[in-house]
Symmetry: C2
Subunit: 294 residues, 2 copies
Protein backbone atom coordinates (compact mmCIF):
# COMPACT_ATOMS: atom_id res chain seq x y z
CA UNK A 1 0.00 0.00 0.00
CA UNK A 2 2.93 2.31 0.34
CA UNK A 3 6.11 2.66 -1.60
CA UNK A 4 9.16 0.46 -1.60
CA UNK A 5 11.65 1.38 1.01
CA UNK A 6 14.89 2.95 -0.08
CA UNK A 7 16.87 1.14 2.59
CA UNK A 8 17.97 -1.89 0.56
CA UNK A 9 19.41 0.33 -2.10
CA UNK A 10 20.99 2.58 0.47
CA UNK A 11 22.52 -0.37 2.28
CA UNK A 12 24.25 -1.31 -0.95
CA UNK A 13 25.28 2.29 -1.51
CA UNK A 14 26.78 2.54 1.95
CA UNK A 15 28.82 -0.59 1.39
CA UNK A 16 30.08 0.77 -1.88
CA UNK A 17 30.83 4.10 -0.25
CA UNK A 18 32.78 2.48 2.55
CA UNK A 19 34.77 0.40 0.10
CA UNK A 20 35.61 3.13 -2.34
CA UNK A 21 36.71 5.38 0.51
CA UNK A 22 38.82 2.60 1.96
CA UNK A 23 37.28 3.03 5.41
CA UNK A 24 38.51 0.90 8.28
CA UNK A 25 36.98 -0.95 11.19
CA UNK A 26 35.83 1.45 13.87
CA UNK A 27 35.32 4.45 11.56
CA UNK A 28 32.31 6.56 12.35
CA UNK A 29 29.42 6.83 9.90
CA UNK A 30 27.59 10.09 10.60
CA UNK A 31 23.97 10.13 9.46
CA UNK A 32 23.97 13.58 7.95
CA UNK A 33 27.11 12.98 5.96
CA UNK A 34 25.67 9.87 4.37
CA UNK A 35 22.31 11.56 3.87
CA UNK A 36 23.91 14.46 2.00
CA UNK A 37 25.96 12.07 -0.02
CA UNK A 38 22.99 10.08 -1.23
CA UNK A 39 20.67 13.08 -1.46
CA UNK A 40 18.10 11.78 0.99
CA UNK A 41 17.16 12.65 4.54
CA UNK A 42 18.55 10.99 7.63
CA UNK A 43 15.53 8.73 7.99
CA UNK A 44 16.27 6.14 5.28
CA UNK A 45 19.94 6.20 6.25
CA UNK A 46 18.95 5.20 9.75
CA UNK A 47 16.95 2.21 8.64
CA UNK A 48 19.64 1.15 6.21
CA UNK A 49 22.21 1.23 9.00
CA UNK A 50 19.93 -0.78 11.23
CA UNK A 51 19.74 -3.46 8.55
CA UNK A 52 23.51 -3.37 8.17
CA UNK A 53 23.82 -3.84 11.90
CA UNK A 54 21.74 -7.02 11.68
CA UNK A 55 24.20 -8.23 9.06
CA UNK A 56 27.07 -7.43 11.40
CA UNK A 57 28.65 -4.89 9.13
CA UNK A 58 28.21 -1.93 11.43
CA UNK A 59 27.92 -1.59 15.18
CA UNK A 60 25.51 0.78 16.93
CA UNK A 61 26.52 2.72 20.03
CA UNK A 62 23.74 4.43 21.93
CA UNK A 63 23.70 8.16 21.39
CA UNK A 64 26.93 7.97 19.45
CA UNK A 65 25.75 6.44 16.22
CA UNK A 66 27.03 3.72 13.92
CA UNK A 67 30.57 2.52 13.44
CA UNK A 68 32.11 0.16 10.93
CA UNK A 69 32.41 -3.31 12.45
CA UNK A 70 34.85 -4.57 9.81
CA UNK A 71 37.34 -3.15 7.36
CA UNK A 72 35.76 -1.79 4.21
CA UNK A 73 37.49 -4.10 1.79
CA UNK A 74 36.45 -7.13 3.84
CA UNK A 75 32.73 -6.66 3.17
CA UNK A 76 31.25 -9.05 0.70
CA UNK A 77 28.02 -8.09 -0.90
CA UNK A 78 25.22 -10.27 0.24
CA UNK A 79 23.45 -12.00 -2.64
CA UNK A 80 26.39 -11.23 -4.90
CA UNK A 81 25.93 -11.91 -8.56
CA UNK A 82 23.23 -14.50 -8.25
CA UNK A 83 22.54 -14.40 -11.93
CA UNK A 84 19.77 -11.94 -12.61
CA UNK A 85 18.49 -11.07 -9.16
CA UNK A 86 17.48 -7.59 -10.20
CA UNK A 87 15.20 -6.11 -7.60
CA UNK A 88 12.04 -4.09 -7.89
CA UNK A 89 11.60 -1.79 -10.84
CA UNK A 90 14.74 -2.96 -12.51
CA UNK A 91 13.41 -6.49 -12.73
CA UNK A 92 10.36 -5.33 -14.65
CA UNK A 93 12.42 -3.02 -16.80
CA UNK A 94 14.61 -5.93 -17.82
CA UNK A 95 11.62 -8.19 -18.41
CA UNK A 96 10.14 -5.62 -20.75
CA UNK A 97 13.41 -5.32 -22.61
CA UNK A 98 13.65 -9.05 -22.91
CA UNK A 99 10.07 -9.45 -24.08
CA UNK A 100 10.61 -6.76 -26.66
CA UNK A 101 13.79 -8.27 -28.02
CA UNK A 102 12.05 -11.64 -28.24
CA UNK A 103 9.36 -10.04 -30.33
CA UNK A 104 6.59 -10.64 -27.83
CA UNK A 105 5.02 -7.23 -28.28
CA UNK A 106 2.80 -5.73 -30.91
CA UNK A 107 3.91 -2.28 -32.03
CA UNK A 108 1.17 -0.85 -29.86
CA UNK A 109 0.59 -1.67 -26.18
CA UNK A 110 -1.83 -0.22 -23.68
CA UNK A 111 -0.91 0.61 -20.12
CA UNK A 112 -3.60 -1.65 -18.77
CA UNK A 113 -2.25 -4.51 -20.79
CA UNK A 114 1.21 -4.04 -19.33
CA UNK A 115 -0.15 -3.67 -15.81
CA UNK A 116 -1.89 -7.00 -16.15
CA UNK A 117 1.08 -8.65 -17.80
CA UNK A 118 3.65 -7.67 -15.20
CA UNK A 119 1.27 -7.33 -12.24
CA UNK A 120 2.49 -3.88 -11.42
CA UNK A 121 0.48 -0.91 -10.18
CA UNK A 122 0.06 1.88 -12.65
CA UNK A 123 2.28 4.36 -10.83
CA UNK A 124 5.20 2.02 -10.90
CA UNK A 125 4.61 0.97 -14.48
CA UNK A 126 4.51 4.57 -15.58
CA UNK A 127 7.75 5.32 -13.86
CA UNK A 128 9.37 2.47 -15.73
CA UNK A 129 7.82 3.40 -19.05
CA UNK A 130 8.99 6.98 -18.69
CA UNK A 131 12.48 5.74 -18.01
CA UNK A 132 12.30 3.63 -21.15
CA UNK A 133 10.95 6.58 -23.08
CA UNK A 134 13.90 8.60 -21.86
CA UNK A 135 16.18 5.92 -23.23
CA UNK A 136 14.33 6.23 -26.47
CA UNK A 137 12.90 2.81 -27.18
CA UNK A 138 9.28 3.47 -26.35
CA UNK A 139 7.04 6.41 -27.05
CA UNK A 140 3.69 7.57 -25.75
CA UNK A 141 1.06 7.70 -28.48
CA UNK A 142 -1.20 10.71 -28.69
CA UNK A 143 -4.31 8.72 -27.86
CA UNK A 144 -4.09 5.54 -25.86
CA UNK A 145 -1.12 3.31 -25.42
CA UNK A 146 2.56 3.24 -26.13
CA UNK A 147 4.56 2.26 -29.15
CA UNK A 148 7.90 0.49 -29.18
CA UNK A 149 10.53 1.80 -31.53
CA UNK A 150 12.03 -1.44 -32.73
CA UNK A 151 14.48 0.40 -34.95
CA UNK A 152 16.57 1.39 -31.95
CA UNK A 153 17.01 -2.28 -31.12
CA UNK A 154 18.09 -3.40 -34.55
CA UNK A 155 21.42 -4.52 -35.89
CA UNK A 156 21.72 -1.43 -38.06
CA UNK A 157 21.12 0.86 -35.13
CA UNK A 158 23.68 -1.06 -33.12
CA UNK A 159 26.34 -0.20 -35.66
CA UNK A 160 25.18 3.38 -35.94
CA UNK A 161 25.65 3.60 -32.21
CA UNK A 162 29.30 2.68 -32.51
CA UNK A 163 29.84 5.32 -35.15
CA UNK A 164 28.19 7.87 -32.91
CA UNK A 165 30.29 6.94 -29.92
CA UNK A 166 33.50 6.96 -31.91
CA UNK A 167 32.80 10.40 -33.30
CA UNK A 168 31.60 11.95 -30.06
CA UNK A 169 34.44 10.63 -27.98
CA UNK A 170 37.09 11.57 -30.48
CA UNK A 171 35.70 15.05 -30.90
CA UNK A 172 35.28 15.51 -27.17
CA UNK A 173 38.96 14.84 -26.80
CA UNK A 174 39.82 17.42 -29.43
CA UNK A 175 37.86 20.24 -27.78
CA UNK A 176 39.88 23.17 -26.57
CA UNK A 177 38.26 22.76 -23.16
CA UNK A 178 39.55 19.19 -22.80
CA UNK A 179 41.69 18.74 -19.74
CA UNK A 180 42.94 15.45 -18.30
CA UNK A 181 41.71 14.75 -14.79
CA UNK A 182 44.67 13.33 -12.84
CA UNK A 183 42.51 11.68 -10.23
CA UNK A 184 40.23 10.10 -12.81
CA UNK A 185 43.23 8.92 -14.78
CA UNK A 186 44.79 7.33 -11.74
CA UNK A 187 41.66 5.41 -10.85
CA UNK A 188 41.11 4.37 -14.46
CA UNK A 189 44.68 3.09 -14.57
CA UNK A 190 44.10 1.00 -11.47
CA UNK A 191 40.88 -0.54 -12.73
CA UNK A 192 42.14 -1.20 -16.22
CA UNK A 193 45.37 -2.71 -14.96
CA UNK A 194 43.50 -4.95 -12.58
CA UNK A 195 41.10 -5.97 -15.29
CA UNK A 196 43.93 -6.70 -17.68
CA UNK A 197 45.93 -8.67 -15.12
CA UNK A 198 43.55 -11.56 -14.76
CA UNK A 199 40.43 -9.68 -13.70
CA UNK A 200 39.02 -10.39 -17.12
CA UNK A 201 38.79 -14.05 -16.23
CA UNK A 202 36.56 -13.88 -13.19
CA UNK A 203 34.88 -10.47 -13.14
CA UNK A 204 31.18 -10.61 -13.83
CA UNK A 205 29.81 -9.41 -17.12
CA UNK A 206 28.19 -6.43 -15.40
CA UNK A 207 31.46 -5.46 -13.73
CA UNK A 208 33.39 -5.66 -16.97
CA UNK A 209 30.78 -3.65 -18.75
CA UNK A 210 30.79 -1.03 -16.02
CA UNK A 211 34.58 -0.74 -16.00
CA UNK A 212 34.56 -0.18 -19.73
CA UNK A 213 31.82 2.43 -19.59
CA UNK A 214 33.40 4.21 -16.68
CA UNK A 215 36.61 4.52 -18.61
CA UNK A 216 35.00 6.07 -21.64
CA UNK A 217 32.74 8.34 -19.63
CA UNK A 218 35.66 9.53 -17.58
CA UNK A 219 37.46 10.49 -20.79
CA UNK A 220 34.49 12.41 -22.12
CA UNK A 221 34.00 14.11 -18.77
CA UNK A 222 37.44 15.64 -19.25
CA UNK A 223 36.05 17.57 -22.20
CA UNK A 224 34.35 19.88 -19.75
CA UNK A 225 31.26 19.87 -21.95
CA UNK A 226 28.15 18.44 -20.34
CA UNK A 227 26.42 17.77 -23.62
CA UNK A 228 29.10 15.45 -24.85
CA UNK A 229 29.08 13.56 -21.59
CA UNK A 230 25.33 13.36 -21.56
CA UNK A 231 25.20 12.01 -25.09
CA UNK A 232 27.66 9.27 -24.22
CA UNK A 233 25.91 8.33 -21.00
CA UNK A 234 22.65 8.16 -22.85
CA UNK A 235 23.88 5.83 -25.55
CA UNK A 236 25.70 3.67 -23.02
CA UNK A 237 22.50 3.05 -21.13
CA UNK A 238 20.96 1.78 -24.32
CA UNK A 239 24.00 -0.25 -25.18
CA UNK A 240 23.87 -2.04 -21.87
CA UNK A 241 20.53 -3.41 -22.89
CA UNK A 242 21.73 -4.82 -26.17
CA UNK A 243 25.06 -6.09 -24.98
CA UNK A 244 23.48 -8.00 -22.14
CA UNK A 245 22.19 -10.26 -24.87
CA UNK A 246 25.68 -10.84 -26.14
CA UNK A 247 28.34 -13.19 -24.91
CA UNK A 248 31.45 -11.32 -23.93
CA UNK A 249 34.58 -12.42 -25.71
CA UNK A 250 36.86 -12.38 -22.71
CA UNK A 251 39.91 -13.18 -24.74
CA UNK A 252 39.72 -9.73 -26.26
CA UNK A 253 39.80 -7.95 -22.92
CA UNK A 254 43.58 -7.84 -22.39
CA UNK A 255 43.96 -6.11 -25.72
CA UNK A 256 41.16 -3.73 -24.86
CA UNK A 257 42.61 -2.74 -21.51
CA UNK A 258 46.02 -2.33 -23.08
CA UNK A 259 44.51 0.07 -25.57
CA UNK A 260 42.82 1.97 -22.78
CA UNK A 261 46.10 2.35 -20.98
CA UNK A 262 47.77 3.40 -24.19
CA UNK A 263 45.24 6.21 -24.58
CA UNK A 264 46.05 7.45 -21.09
CA UNK A 265 49.75 7.30 -21.92
CA UNK A 266 49.31 9.35 -25.04
CA UNK A 267 47.27 11.97 -23.22
CA UNK A 268 49.74 12.25 -20.42
CA UNK A 269 52.53 12.90 -22.86
CA UNK A 270 50.46 15.63 -24.51
CA UNK A 271 49.83 13.75 -27.74
CA UNK A 272 46.16 14.52 -27.80
CA UNK A 273 45.38 14.30 -31.48
CA UNK A 274 47.14 10.95 -31.63
CA UNK A 275 45.12 9.80 -28.64
CA UNK A 276 41.90 10.97 -30.26
CA UNK A 277 42.65 9.17 -33.50
CA UNK A 278 43.56 6.02 -31.63
CA UNK A 279 40.40 6.25 -29.55
CA UNK A 280 38.35 6.44 -32.71
CA UNK A 281 39.77 3.26 -34.19
CA UNK A 282 39.62 1.61 -30.78
CA UNK A 283 35.86 2.10 -30.62
CA UNK A 284 35.18 1.25 -34.22
CA UNK A 285 37.31 -1.85 -33.86
CA UNK A 286 35.21 -3.10 -30.99
CA UNK A 287 32.03 -2.93 -33.03
CA UNK A 288 33.12 -5.34 -35.72
CA UNK A 289 34.03 -8.25 -33.55
CA UNK A 290 30.95 -8.86 -31.51
CA UNK A 291 27.83 -10.22 -33.10
CA UNK A 292 24.43 -9.89 -31.45
CA UNK A 293 22.59 -13.13 -30.83
CA UNK A 294 19.30 -11.67 -31.96
Amino acid sequence: MARNSLSPRISTDIIEFVKSNAMRKGDHLPLQMLADNFRVSRAPIMSALQKLEERGIVRAEPNRGYFLAVNGEAIEDLEPENGQAAEGDDAIYLKIADDLLSGRFAERVSENELMRLYEVPRTRLLKILHRIADEGWIERLPGNGWSFKQTLMSRKSYEEGYVFRAVIEQQAMLLSTFQPDPDGFRRARETQTELGNGGYEHWSRAEIFKANNDFHEMLVACSGNEFFLDAIKRINRLRRLLEYQITIDRSRLPKQTAEHLHILDLLESDRRSEAAAFLYTHIMGASRIKTPKV
Copy 2:
Protein backbone atom coordinates in the same frame (compact mmCIF):
# COMPACT_ATOMS: atom_id res chain seq x y z
CA MET B 1 -12.89 13.86 -14.25
CA ALA B 2 -11.63 12.41 -17.49
CA ARG B 3 -8.76 13.38 -19.70
CA ASN B 4 -8.38 16.30 -22.06
CA SER B 5 -9.71 15.63 -25.51
CA LEU B 6 -7.28 15.28 -28.35
CA SER B 7 -9.58 17.03 -30.79
CA PRO B 8 -8.23 20.57 -30.45
CA ARG B 9 -4.74 19.40 -31.20
CA ILE B 10 -5.98 17.23 -34.02
CA SER B 11 -7.96 20.07 -35.53
CA THR B 12 -4.76 22.05 -35.74
CA ASP B 13 -2.93 19.07 -37.15
CA ILE B 14 -5.53 18.58 -39.85
CA ILE B 15 -5.25 22.20 -40.91
CA GLU B 16 -1.50 21.90 -41.10
CA PHE B 17 -1.84 18.65 -43.02
CA VAL B 18 -4.21 20.18 -45.52
CA LYS B 19 -1.94 23.15 -46.02
CA SER B 20 1.28 21.25 -46.42
CA ASN B 21 -0.35 18.90 -48.90
CA ALA B 22 -1.75 21.83 -50.83
CA MET B 23 -5.25 20.36 -50.77
CA ARG B 24 -8.09 22.17 -52.53
CA LYS B 25 -11.70 22.96 -51.84
CA GLY B 26 -13.83 19.84 -52.26
CA ASP B 27 -11.08 17.32 -51.51
CA HIS B 28 -12.15 14.35 -49.47
CA LEU B 29 -10.75 13.76 -45.98
CA PRO B 30 -11.06 10.04 -45.20
CA LEU B 31 -11.14 9.24 -41.50
CA GLN B 32 -8.84 6.26 -41.60
CA MET B 33 -6.20 8.06 -43.62
CA LEU B 34 -6.05 10.89 -41.11
CA ALA B 35 -6.18 8.46 -38.21
CA ASP B 36 -3.20 6.53 -39.52
CA ASN B 37 -1.37 9.73 -40.20
CA PHE B 38 -1.74 11.02 -36.66
CA ARG B 39 -1.44 7.59 -35.03
CA VAL B 40 -4.83 7.65 -33.36
CA SER B 41 -8.13 5.91 -33.97
CA ARG B 42 -10.96 7.29 -36.05
CA ALA B 43 -12.84 8.52 -32.99
CA PRO B 44 -10.84 11.66 -32.18
CA ILE B 45 -10.55 12.43 -35.89
CA MET B 46 -14.33 12.44 -36.12
CA SER B 47 -14.76 14.91 -33.30
CA ALA B 48 -12.01 17.11 -34.66
CA LEU B 49 -13.71 17.23 -38.03
CA GLN B 50 -17.00 18.08 -36.39
CA LYS B 51 -15.36 21.04 -34.72
CA LEU B 52 -13.81 22.08 -38.01
CA GLU B 53 -17.25 21.92 -39.59
CA GLU B 54 -18.55 24.38 -37.02
CA ARG B 55 -15.74 26.70 -38.06
CA GLY B 56 -16.76 26.29 -41.69
CA ILE B 57 -13.50 24.76 -42.79
CA VAL B 58 -14.93 21.40 -43.79
CA ARG B 59 -18.35 20.31 -44.99
CA ALA B 60 -20.02 17.06 -43.88
CA GLU B 61 -21.99 14.94 -46.32
CA PRO B 62 -24.12 12.20 -44.80
CA ASN B 63 -22.60 8.76 -45.26
CA ARG B 64 -19.87 10.19 -47.46
CA GLY B 65 -17.70 11.93 -44.91
CA TYR B 66 -15.98 15.27 -44.70
CA PHE B 67 -14.78 17.49 -47.52
CA LEU B 68 -12.67 20.60 -47.55
CA ALA B 69 -14.91 23.67 -47.73
CA VAL B 70 -12.11 26.02 -48.73
CA ASN B 71 -8.71 25.85 -50.35
CA GLY B 72 -5.95 24.73 -48.05
CA GLU B 73 -3.84 27.85 -48.27
CA ALA B 74 -6.85 30.02 -47.49
CA ILE B 75 -7.26 28.69 -43.96
CA GLU B 76 -6.14 31.00 -41.24
CA ASP B 77 -5.42 29.51 -37.88
CA LEU B 78 -7.93 30.57 -35.35
CA GLU B 79 -6.32 32.24 -32.34
CA PRO B 80 -3.15 32.80 -34.34
CA GLU B 81 -0.13 34.01 -32.46
CA ASN B 82 -1.92 35.66 -29.60
CA GLY B 83 1.26 36.01 -27.70
CA GLN B 84 1.63 33.11 -25.33
CA ALA B 85 -1.69 31.28 -25.59
CA ALA B 86 -0.11 27.92 -24.91
CA GLU B 87 -2.80 25.43 -24.08
CA GLY B 88 -2.99 22.73 -21.49
CA ASP B 89 0.18 20.99 -20.43
CA ASP B 90 2.37 23.28 -22.44
CA ALA B 91 1.20 26.27 -20.46
CA ILE B 92 2.31 24.71 -17.21
CA TYR B 93 5.52 23.49 -18.74
CA LEU B 94 6.37 27.02 -19.78
CA LYS B 95 5.35 28.44 -16.42
CA ILE B 96 7.71 26.04 -14.71
CA ALA B 97 10.52 26.99 -17.06
CA ASP B 98 9.86 30.65 -16.45
CA ASP B 99 9.70 30.25 -12.69
CA LEU B 100 12.94 28.32 -12.73
CA LEU B 101 14.76 30.89 -14.85
CA SER B 102 13.52 33.62 -12.53
CA GLY B 103 15.00 31.76 -9.62
CA ARG B 104 11.69 31.13 -7.90
CA PHE B 105 12.52 27.55 -6.96
CA ALA B 106 14.59 26.00 -4.26
CA GLU B 107 16.90 23.26 -5.52
CA ARG B 108 14.46 20.76 -4.07
CA VAL B 109 10.72 20.67 -4.76
CA SER B 110 8.08 18.17 -3.77
CA GLU B 111 5.34 16.99 -6.08
CA ASN B 112 2.67 18.12 -3.67
CA GLU B 113 4.17 21.58 -3.61
CA LEU B 114 4.05 21.82 -7.39
CA MET B 115 0.51 20.46 -7.52
CA ARG B 116 -0.60 23.19 -5.17
CA LEU B 117 1.38 25.87 -6.94
CA TYR B 118 0.06 25.18 -10.43
CA GLU B 119 -3.26 23.67 -9.41
CA VAL B 120 -2.71 20.58 -11.50
CA PRO B 121 -3.68 17.01 -10.70
CA ARG B 122 -0.79 14.72 -9.93
CA THR B 123 -1.06 12.65 -13.11
CA ARG B 124 -0.74 15.68 -15.30
CA LEU B 125 2.05 17.15 -13.24
CA LEU B 126 3.99 13.92 -13.43
CA LYS B 127 3.63 13.81 -17.17
CA ILE B 128 5.08 17.28 -17.40
CA LEU B 129 7.86 16.58 -14.94
CA HIS B 130 8.86 13.46 -16.84
CA ARG B 131 9.01 15.46 -20.02
CA ILE B 132 11.25 17.97 -18.31
CA ALA B 133 13.36 15.17 -16.93
CA ASP B 134 13.71 13.86 -20.46
CA GLU B 135 14.97 17.27 -21.52
CA GLY B 136 17.40 17.05 -18.69
CA TRP B 137 16.69 20.01 -16.47
CA ILE B 138 14.98 18.24 -13.61
CA GLU B 139 15.71 15.01 -11.86
CA ARG B 140 13.79 12.74 -9.52
CA LEU B 141 15.50 12.42 -6.17
CA PRO B 142 15.80 8.99 -4.59
CA GLY B 143 13.56 9.86 -1.68
CA ASN B 144 10.91 12.55 -2.00
CA GLY B 145 10.82 15.36 -4.45
CA TRP B 146 12.61 16.57 -7.53
CA SER B 147 15.72 18.63 -8.04
CA PHE B 148 16.32 21.21 -10.73
CA LYS B 149 19.64 21.14 -12.51
CA GLN B 150 20.33 24.82 -12.82
CA THR B 151 23.60 24.18 -14.58
CA LEU B 152 21.81 23.25 -17.79
CA MET B 153 20.20 26.67 -17.81
CA SER B 154 23.34 28.68 -17.33
CA ARG B 155 25.31 30.88 -19.67
CA LYS B 156 28.20 28.44 -19.72
CA SER B 157 25.98 25.58 -20.68
CA TYR B 158 24.43 27.70 -23.39
CA GLU B 159 27.79 28.10 -25.02
CA GLU B 160 28.68 24.46 -24.55
CA GLY B 161 25.49 23.67 -26.40
CA TYR B 162 26.65 25.60 -29.44
CA VAL B 163 29.93 23.76 -29.47
CA PHE B 164 28.10 20.47 -29.26
CA ARG B 165 25.76 21.37 -32.10
CA ALA B 166 28.57 22.60 -34.30
CA VAL B 167 30.57 19.43 -33.80
CA ILE B 168 27.67 17.02 -34.18
CA GLU B 169 26.31 18.66 -37.29
CA GLN B 170 29.64 18.96 -38.95
CA GLN B 171 30.56 15.38 -38.19
CA ALA B 172 27.15 14.12 -39.28
CA MET B 173 27.78 15.69 -42.64
CA LEU B 174 31.14 13.99 -42.93
CA LEU B 175 29.79 10.49 -42.29
CA SER B 176 30.11 8.04 -45.15
CA THR B 177 26.41 7.35 -44.85
CA PHE B 178 25.51 10.99 -45.47
CA GLN B 179 23.27 11.42 -48.46
CA PRO B 180 21.44 14.60 -49.49
CA ASP B 181 17.68 14.26 -49.53
CA PRO B 182 16.44 16.03 -52.68
CA ASP B 183 12.93 16.52 -51.35
CA GLY B 184 14.15 17.87 -48.03
CA PHE B 185 16.57 20.18 -49.82
CA ARG B 186 13.86 21.52 -52.07
CA ARG B 187 11.55 22.31 -49.18
CA ALA B 188 14.37 23.83 -47.14
CA ARG B 189 15.25 26.03 -50.13
CA GLU B 190 11.67 27.26 -50.33
CA THR B 191 11.40 28.06 -46.66
CA GLN B 192 14.79 29.69 -46.38
CA THR B 193 14.24 31.76 -49.50
CA GLU B 194 10.88 32.93 -48.26
CA LEU B 195 12.33 33.75 -44.88
CA GLY B 196 15.19 35.66 -46.45
CA ASN B 197 12.94 37.59 -48.84
CA GLY B 198 11.06 39.58 -46.27
CA GLY B 199 9.67 36.76 -44.16
CA TYR B 200 12.13 37.71 -41.48
CA GLU B 201 10.25 40.93 -40.92
CA HIS B 202 6.83 39.58 -40.04
CA TRP B 203 7.20 35.89 -39.15
CA SER B 204 6.63 35.14 -35.51
CA ARG B 205 9.52 34.25 -33.29
CA ALA B 206 8.26 30.69 -33.01
CA GLU B 207 8.03 30.35 -36.78
CA ILE B 208 11.52 31.66 -37.31
CA PHE B 209 12.88 29.39 -34.65
CA LYS B 210 11.11 26.40 -36.16
CA ALA B 211 12.34 27.15 -39.67
CA ASN B 212 15.87 27.31 -38.39
CA ASN B 213 15.62 24.09 -36.44
CA ASP B 214 13.93 22.28 -39.28
CA PHE B 215 16.77 23.23 -41.54
CA HIS B 216 19.45 21.90 -39.26
CA GLU B 217 17.54 18.75 -38.37
CA MET B 218 16.92 18.04 -42.02
CA LEU B 219 20.64 18.23 -42.66
CA VAL B 220 21.47 15.88 -39.83
CA ALA B 221 18.73 13.50 -40.93
CA CYS B 222 20.65 13.10 -44.19
CA SER B 223 23.42 11.45 -42.19
CA GLY B 224 21.28 8.34 -42.01
CA ASN B 225 22.34 7.92 -38.38
CA GLU B 226 19.53 8.13 -35.87
CA PHE B 227 21.79 8.90 -32.96
CA PHE B 228 23.11 12.07 -34.51
CA LEU B 229 19.62 13.21 -35.33
CA ASP B 230 18.37 12.37 -31.88
CA ALA B 231 21.16 14.27 -30.21
CA ILE B 232 20.38 17.36 -32.24
CA LYS B 233 16.67 17.17 -31.66
CA ARG B 234 17.28 16.79 -27.98
CA ILE B 235 19.48 19.82 -27.67
CA ASN B 236 17.17 21.88 -29.83
CA ARG B 237 14.28 21.23 -27.50
CA LEU B 238 16.36 22.62 -24.70
CA ARG B 239 17.55 25.52 -26.76
CA ARG B 240 14.01 26.57 -27.52
CA LEU B 241 13.52 27.16 -23.84
CA LEU B 242 16.51 29.42 -23.45
CA GLU B 243 16.13 31.31 -26.68
CA TYR B 244 12.52 32.14 -25.93
CA GLN B 245 14.00 34.45 -23.35
CA ILE B 246 16.07 36.19 -25.95
CA THR B 247 15.14 38.90 -28.39
CA ILE B 248 15.72 37.82 -31.93
CA ASP B 249 18.00 40.04 -33.90
CA ARG B 250 15.98 40.03 -37.09
CA SER B 251 18.57 42.02 -39.00
CA ARG B 252 20.83 39.00 -38.88
CA LEU B 253 18.32 36.70 -40.51
CA PRO B 254 19.03 37.51 -44.17
CA LYS B 255 22.66 36.61 -43.62
CA GLN B 256 21.65 33.44 -41.82
CA THR B 257 19.31 32.26 -44.56
CA ALA B 258 21.92 33.11 -47.18
CA GLU B 259 24.37 30.89 -45.34
CA HIS B 260 21.82 28.12 -45.18
CA LEU B 261 21.30 28.32 -48.91
CA HIS B 262 25.03 28.40 -49.44
CA ILE B 263 25.36 25.12 -47.54
CA LEU B 264 22.77 23.52 -49.78
CA ASP B 265 24.63 24.82 -52.82
CA LEU B 266 27.90 23.35 -51.67
CA LEU B 267 26.32 19.99 -50.97
CA GLU B 268 24.62 19.87 -54.30
CA SER B 269 27.88 20.49 -56.07
CA ASP B 270 29.49 17.66 -54.09
CA ARG B 271 31.71 19.85 -51.98
CA ARG B 272 30.85 18.14 -48.76
CA SER B 273 33.89 18.84 -46.65
CA GLU B 274 33.66 22.51 -47.56
CA ALA B 275 30.01 22.47 -46.61
CA ALA B 276 30.78 20.79 -43.30
CA ALA B 277 33.49 23.31 -42.45
CA PHE B 278 31.20 26.18 -43.36
CA LEU B 279 28.39 24.70 -41.31
CA TYR B 280 30.68 24.58 -38.31
CA THR B 281 31.59 28.24 -38.45
CA HIS B 282 28.00 29.11 -39.26
CA ILE B 283 26.82 27.58 -35.99
CA MET B 284 29.66 28.89 -33.88
CA GLY B 285 29.16 32.31 -35.37
CA ALA B 286 25.55 32.38 -34.28
CA SER B 287 26.45 31.75 -30.66
CA ARG B 288 28.61 34.83 -30.21
CA ILE B 289 26.15 37.44 -31.29
CA LYS B 290 23.15 36.81 -29.12
CA THR B 291 23.21 37.56 -25.44
CA PRO B 292 20.72 36.05 -23.04
CA LYS B 293 18.65 38.53 -21.07
CA VAL B 294 18.98 36.54 -17.88
